[in-house]
Amino acid sequence: MARVAAVRRGRPTALWVSAGFGGLLIWSWHGTRVDLGSLFGGEGFRQIATYVGRLFPPDASAATVRDAGVGALETFAISLIGSLLAVVIGLPLSLVATRTLLYHGILYESGPLGPVSRALRIAVYALGKALLNVLRTIPEIVWALIFVFMVGLGPFPGVLALGVHTGGVLGKLFGEVLEDVDPGPLEALQGTGASRFRILVYGVLPQALPQFVSYALYRWEVNIRAAAVMGFVGAGGLGQRIYVAINLFHDHQLLTLILAIYLIVTLVDALSAYLRAQLV
């Protein structure tokens, strides 16, 4: 009932929000010069149809298929190692960037910190948070450009880009999980006189682990897609081959490569779903 009341009170707001979005849409429509009429029926549609027609049939020659396979393996490797690196970066940062682990809450109820130690810990916390924000805010493809500049072309900068950006994302998500753990077991452990470190190891982490795994798998699904386009800026994998195929108008090879992306992405999605069901 409270919900109904809330909805009723919210009605003028709903109108305003809709009107706002309507205005935004009209302004954007105008700005992007989208012409749906020409898309469905006219020039734009014919252009797309012609282009799609040119792609068929996919190039099934042994050389192209092998190249697509190698690219798919490379993309898979970039996404796997990139996601692992992200866990390696995100996990310690999340521990540092969690208030309830560092200076606040249950862990610090029985033995409060001295003022200097507390100030230091707050500083570490703030630094950890800020670092996570920077890592996360810069998109992976920009990181890829940066790492290509630093270590040169190839899949390795792609791995670094995924690891650093996703590390920021996972660090934030892990931190939220850590702050949300059920305090009951922690209090019980504290009652036995366990140290803070032991409470972390035996009370907090076992509760958080299933969700850590689940988030890491979810980001792996995001990363396989990202890894597939890293090559656009010179960071290896299928993307590099697609970039070349599009620019050299190798249309049939392009279709083969796109099929390879579809297969590898679908495979990783299925693997991730299977592992989530088994592990979590």
Partner: protein, 288 residues
Amino acid sequence: MARGSTAAPADRSPASASKSAFLWVFGAVFAVSVALSLRTAQVDPRLLVEGSTLANVARFVRGLFPPQLSREFLGLMLRPALETVQISVVGTAIAILIGVPLGLVATASLTWRGVLHERASRVARWGLGFVPYVVSRGALSVFRSIPEYVWAFMFVRAVGLGPFPGVLAIGVAYGGMLGKVYSEILEGVNPRPLETLQAAGASRLGVVLYGLVPQALPNVIAYTLYRWECAIRASALLGFVGAGGLGQQIELSMRMFQFDEVLTLLAILFVLVATVDFISGRIRAWVV
């Protein structure tokens, strides 16, 4: 994803034996794939501490500051920034246009299975329900499995440079994601109210409108807003392949080693993303 799970208590049931066997197999396969992947991805940590790398890092970091804040540069960047917002809005709108019909058809409980179809003939269930269901599932899967950058690249080839291919790319890739999630939301609704409505003699459309839609709408709106947040990030970067927006500028500045401009552009991107996140978050909190 965010489900409130707690650690499972250690049990001694037979299931735990098979689970531990699984963990061994999984661990072995995992170790081998990581070892192979390290080689395939040419991972070489030594590169990170090499002199040339360190020199490049220093050059990059020094180059970032101070950010390029001249009035001329900011003025030039205003249009691409606005264009980024516009691409995300129209792209999401097109994604909805694609996602809603495909998502509805891709929902088993709407097309061929469950409460609504108990009285339908076999032929109607398979011919009019199951076949379109499979086709639209397949289309959604293709749309969302090909990354938006690849779509954008292809649309640039098909319809030329500018924001239009960016809009189409977001529309298609996110249409696939929206459609899939819409159908999951619709599958997940509580069937009780639908059964009650049907028992009361409501028509199929009535059951959908009064039983299904009210239950699903808050989640549908929330997920669509979330996708809009993703779309603003994506649209900012589609410029890398010539589809308008800030990305093109970021790539240009990066390639010309104008790192002070890169810093400004990233700051602009951050402000845009944060603004959209804020608006969308407020509306989501209010809807759900």
